[in-house]
Amino acid sequence: MALTAVNSTKNNQAVQAEEQLVYNTKNLNLWYGDHHALKNINLGIKEKDVTAIIGPSGCGKSTYIKTLNRMIDLVPGVKTNGIIEYRKRDIFSKDFLVEELRTRVGMVFQKPNPFPKSIYENIAFGLKIHGIKNKQIINETVEKSLRGAALWDEVKDRIHQPAYGLSGGQQQRLCIARCLALEPDVILMDEPTSALDPVSTLKIEELIQELKEKYSIIIVTHNMQQAARISDKTAFFLNGEVVEFNATDTIFNSPADSRTDDYISGRFG
């Protein structure tokens, strides 16, 4: 879809494409101390797309996704310049509270990180900190979120049990449910299946296919088959630069850059 818009380069279509961007990154640079980790990144991420970010270790893909919800702020000595617009608002601007950004943009981490609380409390937490006290709304949202993360049937009889009693794959789906409770616009996933077994991985991938109906998903993955299976668009990062960003089919079948070709065909990385 977006491809035809870009290819035809008709002005009104380009404007329309711009309208549909959830994230627009313009000339983003990022340094860890003296290390230049992201170099001049330009990426427009379309809504309701699954956008995969691939690349070898240390290419900056995790750094980039953590910059999108400013979790990167937690790393001491990080400097950035350039612009990231989320729905046309500069995420680095003082007027855009980082808490608001992170409420609208959920994140799922590499390793499942449920809170040491019950399954129910894990999901209710987000609602409670944002001031929702109505028990009925919380109960309904907990169920809806667990259903949304394809976990409800497995845990409905024990939602007041500790979340740490769940398997790794279930914990990761719980973390997804925890995001869904806040009805986010975008879900960032930082290698969400890298700590999971193949069966759990498959479940998460199926879940991502369902979630893309309602959410924009940006997923960092080490696993190229995964990117090929689940994403609409793929960005290939190398040494802190975006080498190529295109429809996933194009990236995997006829990459424009020889480095992309080398990486996806397993010659390095």
């Binding site: 979790m71 937690l74 959920g106 981490f109 900190i129």
Partner: protein, 314 residues
């Protein structure tokens, strides 16, 4: 010896020597024996202390009725005509000091622990933690005269009705003394909550304080409670500060502004006085010591129970 065509390199020669000498074998066998003896000595010492306490306490109860000991509110062991041994005033004295110390130390200790683990930068931590350790290393006798010669006069400026010996000043200073215990154990508990949990909360849009108070603090609760109980246990057993600044008047009154005596300071009074060996007064310190021991033992068991019961596995 092997033939010359299989000459040993220097490393091989050394290894040969090591394994043929048999030294390694012998030392490896002796080490666990030595370590076991050390362990046995400390266990036996503890047992010895407890048994001494129990036997001497039993001797004491030959002279004094156990009912009087636990129910009477009069503690007049030095009375020549009608000595009375009701331990309640000493327990009350200990509890007054412990209560004031806890009210003072728990909020401050937890605030400092939260600050150090969740807010302070690496540099602040580097400066503050050693300072707190110095606080933990101050001899209690120094705390004692700090209470008597600094805190008490200061409080009496503000509250002129306060007596020279009272519960408040030594209570506060005992509190200062246990702050490092609470801070250091609570801070360990808070810091051992994995970074990933912290990130999970922040990524949902919670503020730093919401993360600290609603996720990290509850997650570390077992360690925090254990630190409080251990701090309280130290306050119960504290001797020097109360001997110097709280007075030596067993009192069954709830008044915090008047002189009192704790279980520990009674033992100090008797052991530094001239109570003769074998007298009832002499045996009374064992009964008080045993009561004190039951208190601190109960606190330590409570701390263990709490940290097991509420432990979070990450």
């Amino acid at each position: 010896m092997k033939t010359t065509n299989k000459e040993l390199s220097p490393v091989q020669q050394l290894l040969e020597k090591k394994y043929n000498g048999g030294f390694l074998n012998r030392s490896e066998k002796i080490i666990p024996v030595v370590l076991f003896i050390m362990a046995a000595v400390s266990v036996l010492t503890t047992l010895g202390i407890v048994l001494t306490l129990i036997f001497e306490t039993i001797t004491f109860f030959r002279d004094v009725s156990i009912v009087e000991f636990f129910t009477s509110t009069d503690w007049y062991p030095f009375s020549n005509t009608d000595p009375s041994y009701g331990i309640w005033p000493l327990i009350l004295g200990t509890l007054k000091i412990t209560l004031i110390a806890s009210l003072f130390a728990v909020p401050i200790g937890l605030a400092v622990a939260l600050y150090l683990s969740e807010y302070a930068g690496a540099r602040t931590r580097k400066i503050m933690k050693p300072i707190l350790e110095v606080l933990a290393g101050v001899p209690t006798i120094v705390y004692g005269f700090f209470a008597l010669t600094f805190v008490t006069p200061l409080l009496r400026e503000i509250f002129p009705s306060l007596e020279l010996f009272n519960a408040i000043s030594p209570g506060i200073v005992v509190g200062i003394m246990i702050i490092p215990t609470i801070v250091s154990l609570s801070e360990d508990a808070l810091s051992s909550v994995p970074e990933s949990v912290r990130q999970g909360a922040l990524a949902l849009g919670s503020t730093k304080w919401e993360t600290a108070s609603k996720v990290i603090f509850p997650a570390a609760l077992s360690g925090i409670l254990a630190s409080i109980v251990l701090g309280v246990s130290r306050a119960i057993g504290e001797t020097m500060i109360v001997s110097i600044a709280a007075g030596s008047t067993p009192s069954a009154s709830l008044d915090l502004t008047t002189s009192l005596q704790t279980m520990t300071s009674y033992i100090v009074q008797v052991t530094t006085g001239d109570a003769g060996f074998g007298t009832t007064i002499y045996y009374s310190i064992y009964s008080v010591g045993f009561t004190l021991f039951v208190f601190t033992l109960a606190m330590n068991l409570l701390a263990q129970f709490i940290s097991k019961r509420f432990r979070e596995e990450y």
